[in-house]
Assembly symmetry: C2
Homo-oligomer: 211 residues x 2
Amino acid sequence: MSDTVQDPKKPSRKERELQFRVGLVLDAAEEVFAETTFARASVEDIAEKAEISVGTLYNLFRSKEDLYRSVVSRAQEGFFDRVQERLSEARGPLEKVHAVVSYHFEHFHRYARQFRLYVSATNGFQWELRSMLDSEAMARQMQFRTRLIDICQDGMDQGIFKRGVPADLLAINVASLPHPFLLVWLERDTIDLMTLLPHAVTMVDRLLGVD
Amino acid sequence: MSDTVQDPKKPSRKERELQFRVGLVLDAAEEVFAETTFARASVEDIAEKAEISVGTLYNLFRSKEDLYRSVVSRAQEGFFDRVQERLSEARGPLEKVHAVVSYHFEHFHRYARQFRLYVSATNGFQWELRSMLDSEAMARQMQFRTRLIDICQDGMDQGIFKRGVPADLLAINVASLPHPFLLVWLERDTIDLMTLLPHAVTMVDRLLGVD
DNA sequence: ATACGCGATGAAGGCACGTTCACTTTCTTG
DNA sequence: CAAGAAAGTGAACGTGCCTTCATCGCGTAT
């Protein structure tokens, strides 16, 4: 019998060809999903960009959601693989942390498009158009940011905050410092948010360089 | 002629009643939008929760998008108003920064539901279900986090990183430190991402407490 | 050369949902 | 109290889009 039992490590030519084709489709899907949200991206657009028909797309993936998951997963895998690489090259904790931070910058410098997917993978967010925001809301947002920049500038001028970083970057970092804490809180709904506050204060103080 | 010219400062009873009703509808809409994304939230659900018909909803708001904008705008306004309050009470830059951070915690402790809207307003993100993520992707995410926690713990044990904060919180802060920089970069597409890296490194060093 | 099988195709099905509008109910006013 | 205005209603409409499936084209084996 022509029992085509293959070496399980080495998939057949057919199999490899399939994986290659799937990869091309994922490329196209990544491009489309990166441009908008999951809901707004259309299967037809993806099929067209991949130069296959919608039917074929559904032969390769069970559903739009399945396709999206695969795209995000692949992008995330690529990202983390490279981070791990850097981590294993780096010696000592400080160097390792620097490697992680640096690689974030390098990665999105190269694959700028993937940023939306990255956010989706790490936080469960999806992008929406900024234009969804009221112009009033935009204005308030800007006003608040300016206010915070001024405060940081004052602190530095008065020698209370450590110098060495532009005031606007410092301000933006301060403003987004609560976010990771809030995300942690949402993740484990057992903990009380307020118990995290002291730690957050410690972290801002470090950012500002106050003892 | 019964020219009902009103004192422009004091709207008519009708007008005030309308505003009150609009407020109730916004409450309902906030609840629904906070539960899912803009795309997934349905106008019918909102109308039902507000105990009005879909038609009435469309008498009050031009479109679903208009409604969403109003909800976000109102939530954001409430948030910023209170922050400004705290800011004006606080004396000196450090106290002001502390006030801002503290209020983030207080606010979402009280209005936990608004978190999604807050993110939407500040970053232009929308939430998606976590379940959209591959289980593999989840695992990778977790693995990376654990790796980073270990590194932070090592650093603290070796006396390289400053103590005083749980290793997991430190790790999460390190991991999300690049985010504000990336958002700044996306906002002003004129700048080169890599020019921001040195500042990011400075900020991590401060977070870690290395000189 | 012919028959067979497997993947590709895209038009049609079906559904979900935003929006409208003719009709009804409620309120106002003379 | 009646007539007219204003506001409320929800069924119907239109649109967009995911998914399916009968059909087709092409390579392979006999």
